[in-house]
């Protein structure tokens, strides 16, 4: 028993470090390891994953409490869509086939690796110049942040609020069904659709992941999908890992980490899709 607990603790530390560094939550790492490596039923893997997403988000949140990168207004406004989506998604888990979940989850991993590759290619961040959006003005979503890299105060605007809300609903749905933070989807909604700069997008996504996961976590908690012997060492590990990860991130170039991660996500994603279609056991 000690050995299993230590292994899961180690997985948690790894997932926490990588989740905090990449800003994607630990679920994307934990679910494949638990299902493929431990042969755990996907229902319990998802329950464990929800816990790891919350731990990553809360661990990183307390490390970055005074960060002005975080846009609390954008987070809370969009959170309406993600929390509703997460509840709907969690309720669909019992109805939708597990094989469908595997394919969906695998597809999500492939999408993430493509997204990371795209970010890698894009290189430095480009600030989008947009006309002030009336809805964004009314909701006071436009803000500014201090970029430590370029040492400049960056004012930014957001647009396409309904589009961002729709993608966020989808992100919430995926969170609820798969027990992941769906960070890449959230970053996409803010960065690509709403034209918010990447840095505040990732910081805001990190906070939102925890809140979205909490909306569906109670469903998993009460229906017994969160196994204490797995979730406990995982939670402790992820909290340690996320705290370490936020420190490491400041020293390591994100580009270097993405280079390692693109093929890894491709591999795991492909394997899960094959499992979903019954090609491999």
């Amino acid at each position: 028993m000690l050995q299993t607990i230590l292994i899961i603790l180690g997985i948690g530390i790894l997932a926490g470090i990588l989740g905090a560094i990449l800003g994607i939550g630990g679920g994307i790492i934990v679910t494949p390891i638990l299902t493929l490596g431990f042969g755990l039923d996907i229902k319990y893997a998802i329950g464990a994953s929800v816990i790891s997403v919350i731990a990553t988000s809360s661990g990183a949140t307390i490390a970055y409490i005074k960060d002005d990168l975080l846009n609390l207004r954008v987070a809370m406004f969009l959170e309406i869509a993600t929390t509703v989506g997460a509840i709907v998604g969690a309720l669909l888990v019992g109805i939708v086939q597990p094989n469908f979940l595997y394919v969906l989850f695998g597809g999500l991993l492939l999408f993430s690796s493509w997204n990371m590759y795209r970010k890698l290619r894009a290189g430095s961040e480009i600030l989008h110049k947009t006309q002030p959006d009336p809805l964004a003005e009314k909701l006071r979503l436009n803000s500014s942040y201090y970029d430590k890299n370029t040492q400049q105060q960056v004012d930014y605007q957001v647009e396409h609020i309904p589009g961002g809300l729709s993608v966020m609903f989808g992100a919430g749905l995926a969170s609820g069904m798969l027990g992941i933070g769906s960070g890449p989807f959230k970053v996409m909604a803010m960065d690509t659709v709403m034209k918010m700069p990447l840095k505040p997008s990732s910081a805001t996504s990190n906070l939102m992941m925890g809140v979205t996961a909490a909306a569906s976590a109670t469903v998993y908690f009460f229906n017994g999908a969160i196994l204490p012997q797995i979730a406990a060492p995982l939670a402790v590990g992820v909290l340690i890992g996320a705290t370490l990860g936020t420190r490491i991130m400041q020293r390591l170039p994100a580009k270097w980490i993405r280079v390692i991660f693109v093929p890894l996500l491709l591999y795991i994603g492909g394997q899960m899709i094959l499992k979903g279609f019954g090609v491999i056991a």
Binding site: S58, I62, R140, G210, T218, V219, P228, A232, L239
Partner: protein, 126 residues
């Protein structure tokens, strides 16, 4: 206008400090409870429950807590951890109220209500 604004930003810094402290306490309390349950599980070598069983509802968890069952302590800690993002939303309402931002007090309260609705759904096992 200017001194008023300065006072507000000093006040906001104070609010941020309080929020940070509340969240840190929340995460630390959850981690400590989970850690204690895990250590007790390792020392006793028994979960306190037969087979693969574990408590998932408040009544069974609290019964288990009175008997210091490791799985009951762990489940309490995990539930506290699930509450930490809820705590984050709740203190944000306080922050927006301090800023006198009525629109976002309403929006953030709506998020809190949806979260609580999700919790009730889970509790009723629908």
């Amino acid at each position: 206008m200017q001194p008023d604004k300065k006072q507000t930003s000093a006040e906001m810094a104070q609010v941020e400090k309080i929020i940070g402290l509340i969240l840190q306490i929340g995460v630390l309390v959850s981690a400590t409870i989970i850690g204690c349950g895990l250590l007790l599980l390792l020392f006793t070598g028994h979960s306190g429950y037969s087979g693969q069983n574990f408590p998932t509802h408040f009544d069974t968890i609290f019964q288990g807590l009175l008997q210091l069952k490791p799985f009951a302590i762990i489940m309490l800690g995990l539930f506290c951890l699930i509450l930490t993002p809820v705590l984050r939303v709740a203190v944000s309402i306080y922050a927006f109220a301090k800023e006198r931002d009525r629109l976002y007090v309403i929006i953030t309260s709506a998020v809190l209500l949806i979260l609580l609705f999700g919790m009730v759904l889970g509790y009723l096992d629908i």
